[in-house]
Amino acid sequence: MKVVVAVKRVIDYNVKVRVKSDNSGVETANVKMSMNPFDEIAVEEGVRMREAGVARELIAVSMGPQQSKETIRTALAMGSDRGIHVLHPDALEPLMVAKLMAAIIRKEAPDIVILGKQAIDDDSSQTGQMLAALLGWAQGTFASKLDFEGEFVAVTREIDGGLETIKLKLPAIITTDLRLNTPRYASLPNIMKAKKKPIEETSPGDLGVDVTPRLITVKVVEPAKRQAGVKVENVEELVEKLRNEAKVIS
């Protein structure tokens, strides 16, 4: 099988995000950037399929400014074979990413595309589902387990209240949830090897996709701050306050 994974460069999971003083967005200058954590899980799943002999080629795609190549390099160091970078200086909305991905998928004709279930910057959780729609493919979102059986893949999904298993006809789109796997750290030799792996550069223009945004950001503000309350001395005082002051228990 041929596998494509999508990876996004986002503000690192551990960085405390700050809203810009002009309320136009969040501060991204001099901030540590990393691969979106759910995309690491997508790459890991592809690499495991490659190692198990299920997949014969693994391609990592990213979109964004020049620095997105670093995110592709990370995917290559984890075990992807080659990269595709859609160079675009500005933020791309999920629908546009899905359209660009669809153009690449039509050309590469993989059997499966794995994406993170959501990016931790815009928290949209849309791209995988949109890509499935544009290609007319089946979708297995929030996946915690994949079982390949011939022309099909059984996908165990994390749903409200438990798990659901569905069977999808291949080719299909998968989006990853936390328990699908634990991503590896790239070893130093693999990081060195990744520098020699090819990254093809393309653009929305080359792919024939209009990426004009549909959403206008009016403003970005900090959420209302919650005030810290009081420390209580012991459990007795806590229960007394919950009963008589906050009145949330009887």
């Binding site: 629908l95 409200d160 959420p223 810290a228 806590l238």
Partner: protein
């Protein structure tokens, strides 16, 4: 303007999240509800009884027994021309379904809205709720998922709405349902609970969650967990409260052995009253807690159980 709400249900009952979504929809215009399922007449009747709903559209057919996106999106698309806005709750069903619909309609979806400014402009949390973006959509039709904790639940109205049947669309062969494995809960569901007690990495093991369950039983509370506790394998993922788990806003949230990473706070900071029990007095959870108790949880939680029994 007429607004369509896709109802998330299990063929027996309309999930609580729909009532909050209907409130959001009422702010935009007249509300119609789509109930697609198998033997789901009772759900349609529940939807028809909600205040502000003027019509319920029912598609009752075995092919809609389970909410498969490939099967349902053509159905919603077939009636989408009548609506200015199409909404669903931000449940796993809504999140799975609506982006597929949005792409078919060539619309840039708005996910997880927490506020409505006007018919084109919405507020939504980004970066795990560390920022709130106000965004204006230029698409003619809007496709929206709703953060249900941000809107009150709609009440039951005086006159039930009409229920109208629609014809089914061509079945999809792309996906088939195999089975579900639902966590057996003898307690309220996390997103519906008035009281939640959650454990974090400090719980040290899954077995230790029993001390939280004992308190939950007294309070009629749901039990939750931080991502750290899920990642450590203490409890399953459907316990997870936070950016990548469930978003909750109960009357009382008790965080036990949870340090308070921003990703966890994103899921619970809109709770009315927050209690934190942690032995580390510098834990960030204390910065959002109304009542903080610096203590060893293995001593404090059994004491809490005993005190609540009094």
């Amino acid at each position: 303007m007429t607004v369509l709400v896709y109802a998330d249900h299990d063929n027996n009952d309309l999930k609580g999240a729909n009532y909050n979504t209907i409130t959001a929809a009422s702010l935009l215009g007249e509300v119609h509800i789509l109930v697609a399922g198998e033997n789901c007449r009772h759900v349609a009747e529940q939807a028809a009884a909600v205040d502000g709903v003027t019509k319920v559209i029912i598609a009752d057919n075995p092919q809609y027994a389970h909410p498969l996106a490939e099967m349902l999106t053509p159905l919603i698309q077939s009636i989408s021309g009548n609506y200015s806005h199409i909404l669903a709750p931000s449940t796993t069903v809504g999140k799975n379904l609506l982006p597929r619909l949005a792409a078919l309609l060539d619309v840039q979806q708005l996910s997880d809205i927490s506020g409505i400014i006007d018919s084109d402009t919405f507020e939504r949390p980004i970066y795990a709720g560390n920022a709130i973006a106000t965004v204006k959509s230029t698409d003619a039709r809007k496709v929206i998922t709703v953060r249900t904790t941000a809107f009150d639940a709609a009440a039951i109205g005086s006159v039930p709405a009409d229920i109208q049947e629609i014809s089914v669309t061509e079945p999809s062969i792309l996906s088939t349902f195999i089975d579900t494995e639902l966590t057996q809960l003898d307690r309220p569901e996390l997103t519906a609970a008035k009281v939640i007690i959650s454990g974090g990495r400090g719980m040290q093991s899954g077995e230790n969650f029993i001390i939280l369950e004992k308190v939950a039983n007294i309070l009629g509370a749901a039990v939750g967990a931080s991502r750290a506790a899920v990642d450590s394998g203490f409890v399953s993922n459907d316990y997870q409260v936070g950016q990548t788990g469930k978003i909750v806003a109960p009357d009382l949230y008790i965080a036990v052995g949870i340090s308070g990473a921003i990703q966890h706070l994103a899921g619970m900071k809109d709770s009315k009253v927050i209690v934190a029990i942690n032995k580390d007095e510098d834990a960030p959870i204390f910065q959002v807690a109304d009542y903080g108790l610096v203590a060893d949880l293995f001593k404090a939680v059994p004491e809490l159980e005993a005190e609540l029994k009094k």
